[in-house]
């Protein structure tokens, strides 16, 4: 691996892009490694959170966005809570996932994004979550037809899964929110691109 600095590179666009989402400067990170040390998912990550923050500091966009780390992060907020420098690492992970999806980076982990899509799709349709639909659709999308097949009945017979979704009376409003969010996010990334 090589980091090439072609010319003046004070703060890269990518760094600024992340900072605009988290509302904080990543320059505070002094690479102590505490985030990696306490991360429950670190053993499964290709780079620990500390190195992801470093990539962001140096503007190494491709490394950061193609790592499996950002999809392996459990959003447990352990890192942010213990970071001696108050860096919002969990927020950075979110920001990277958001950017990766917006900019259509090849997603390292389709399971996670598939789940996200279906989950949010459900909210859009029903205003609320529809659990059996979530599990069913998810398994179909990820082609894991038999996964958790044993858990389904357990829940079902305990009366914990409802066959019919329950809707919020707010569904129209919810769709409106989703529509405006899309506009807003498109506008803010356009803004950011414009500034760069």
């Amino acid at each position: 691996m090589q980091l090439k600095v072609p010319g003046p590179m004070v703060v890269s666009d990518f760094t600024q892009q992340v900072e605009a989402i988290i509302g904080q400067s990543v320059s505070k990170c002094y690479q102590c490694g505490n985030c990696t040390a306490g991360c429950p998912a670190a053993p499964e990550m290709d780079f620990g959170p500390q190195r992801i923050i470093r990539f962001v500091q140096l503007g190494l966009k491709d490394l950061a966005l193609t790592s499996n780390t950002i999809w392996t992060c459990a959003s447990c907020v352990t890192c942010t809570t213990r970071c001696p420098q108050e860096v919002d690492i969990t927020g950075v992970m979110d920001a990277l996932r958001i950017i990766a999806q917006r900019e259509h980076y090849p997603v390292q982990d389709r399971y996670v994004t598939a789940l996200n899509d279906i989950f949010l799709g459900n909210i859009r349709t029903f205003g609320r979550q529809y659990e059996i639909g979530l599990i069913g659709k998810y398994n179909l999308r990820t082609r894991q037809f038999f996964k958790d097949v044993m858990l389904g009945p357990k829940l079902f017979f305990k009366g914990k899964l409802k066959l019919l979704p329950h809707r919020s009376g707010n569904v129209r409003e919810v769709r409106e929110i989703f529509r405006r969010v899309k506009e807003e996010s498109a506008a803010s990334s356009a803004n950011r691109a414009g500034r760069a």
Binding site: C32, G33, C39, G48, Q50, R82, E86
Partner: protein, 667 residues
Amino acid sequence: MARIGVFVCHCGKNIGATVDCERVAGEAAKIPGVVHSENYLYMCSDPGQLKIKDAIRDKKLDGVVVAACSPHMHERTFRRAVAEAGLNPYLAEMSNVREHCSWVHQDIEDGTAKAIDLVRVMVEKVKLNQPLTPIRVPVTKRALVIGGGVAGIQAALDIANGERDVILLERDPSIGGHMSQLSETFPTLDCSQCILTPKMVEVASHPRITLLTYSELEEVDGYVGNFQVKIRKKARSVDMDVCTGCGVCMEKCPVKKIPSEFNVGLSMRPAIYTPFPQAVPNVPVIDKENCIYYIKGKCKVCEKFCGPGAIRFDQEDEIVTYDVGAIVVATGYSLYSVGEKPPGSTIAGYGEYGYGNIPDVIDALQFERLASASGPTEGHMRRPSDGAEPKTVAFIQCVGSRCPEKGITYCSKICCMYTVKHAMLYKHKVHDGDAYIFYMDIRSGGKNYEEFVRRAIEEDGVVYLRGRVSRLYRKDGKVIVRGADTLSGTQVEIAADMVVTANATLAQPDSQDVAQKIGIAYDKYGFFSEKHPKLAPVETNTAGVFLAGACQAPKDIPEAVAQASGAAAKVLEMFAVDELEREPTIAVVNEDTCVACFFCKRICPYSAVEEKEIKDRDGNLIKLVSHVNEGLCQGCGLCVVACPSKSIELLGFTDEQLFAEINALAE
């Protein structure tokens, strides 16, 4: 009418080339009040000075302006000459026509015009100058040293060996400070007690040193050369003159289970105790909070067994007052605790380390006691929970330091070095043990320090892991250490038998009170502020008060001792003269117009402004006014501008004088 003399210097060609000195002298002669004006090749030479002296006598001058070089160069020279001629030296001023004029301009017209202006400014000022006498303050040639750690001990000995009296004030029952708790010291590994104890004994036996242990500072009054200090000698409940230090009382005392402060809770002490066997003075104190007699009214076992009959239950605190000329503050430091801090403190503990409740997680000072031959385990490595010899030890650096979230932002400076020392001492004692150090940086800038670190790694096999530790918890009698090594980019988990945390070095918790009593500044962490970070690192902003050791910033022993000797030299310098002479350009208050708003008091950086009561003959309070202590005032003039009723003047820079100067420049 004023009688001013003006003397214009050519400085060879230095001034003469760009300033027409004759014309300047000629123009000066035309200024009202100037009765004598001349120019000469070298005013500072003997003949030049003689001209001034002669003119003063012949023309009965009451003011002198020398238009020459910068006053920073020759003001003293000319003031001395003027004084020799019998005129008050503060009636002479200089106009800077060389550095500020001839050397920076080339056009002779411009230069001459400017020189004339500069002379005019000074003439108008001098007309309003008043005779001043330098402030002379007598010096009490006795010093107070506060704090009996290695820094205070060194400062006290140096001053005492310079043949001056010293009062050494220590609040604990014995002197010695933190150094007496250390096992061996980096980078040479000499035994701390072995090198410190002789100095402690020397203090106790030095004829020039009055040692006040178990005593606290109550109050400081006065100013440089003339402080009055009040000290509370707390009741020891033991007669110092009678006690022989036999120690029988400590053996017999039925209270046995008080955690020893000296051993940082790793052993127990009785209610009557000396902190450690080599204590100086070797006289116990009774800890009244824990003594059965003081709690319940009966016991007195110690009294019964004390052969010489030294126990005094009825002893009371005693307030003593001393006059001292200088104060050395050497109150040292305290250590951060990973335990929860009281509400209101900006410093939080480490919840992820169990707030210090895991028994085999000890702090660095506890490790020193474990490693010390005179410690609770006689130097054997035994972990607190079960006394077993730990085979895997993890050391964690920067605990609380460089951690704005939970501790402080600064680097504690000494912990990198003492941690490597700890790992090394551990490896020397447990040959088959493993020592891991979690670090962020290794800061080893000091003579032979880096070599010491390399030795630990290369020869003793200490393993450094670069990363912080996120979590500690107990499992199966081990302490699980979850850390990281950022160099390999991996998470690290160690099942350790014992963990040692290098806790941040903090100021003493009461340092701000102490600073306020003495009237010195402190930073936001409570460390005392030096006068200048580079050029006056042992002085404070308060004349006559000096700093030594870790009370100013985290320091190791060599630095603490060096600063202590520096402070002692400063004290001896002050004591080399009988009177201190200070510039008389200080503030004075007009008590008639002062309205007692004390804006001046609030703004003065030197706490030189006091509230003064004006009483009538019967002692009834008439009014309160402001008063400037001439010993403390440094003459900055801040108060003058702050005063809404224009009741303060700065001598030598009065409003009247300054307006005269400004007006002199008007067309």
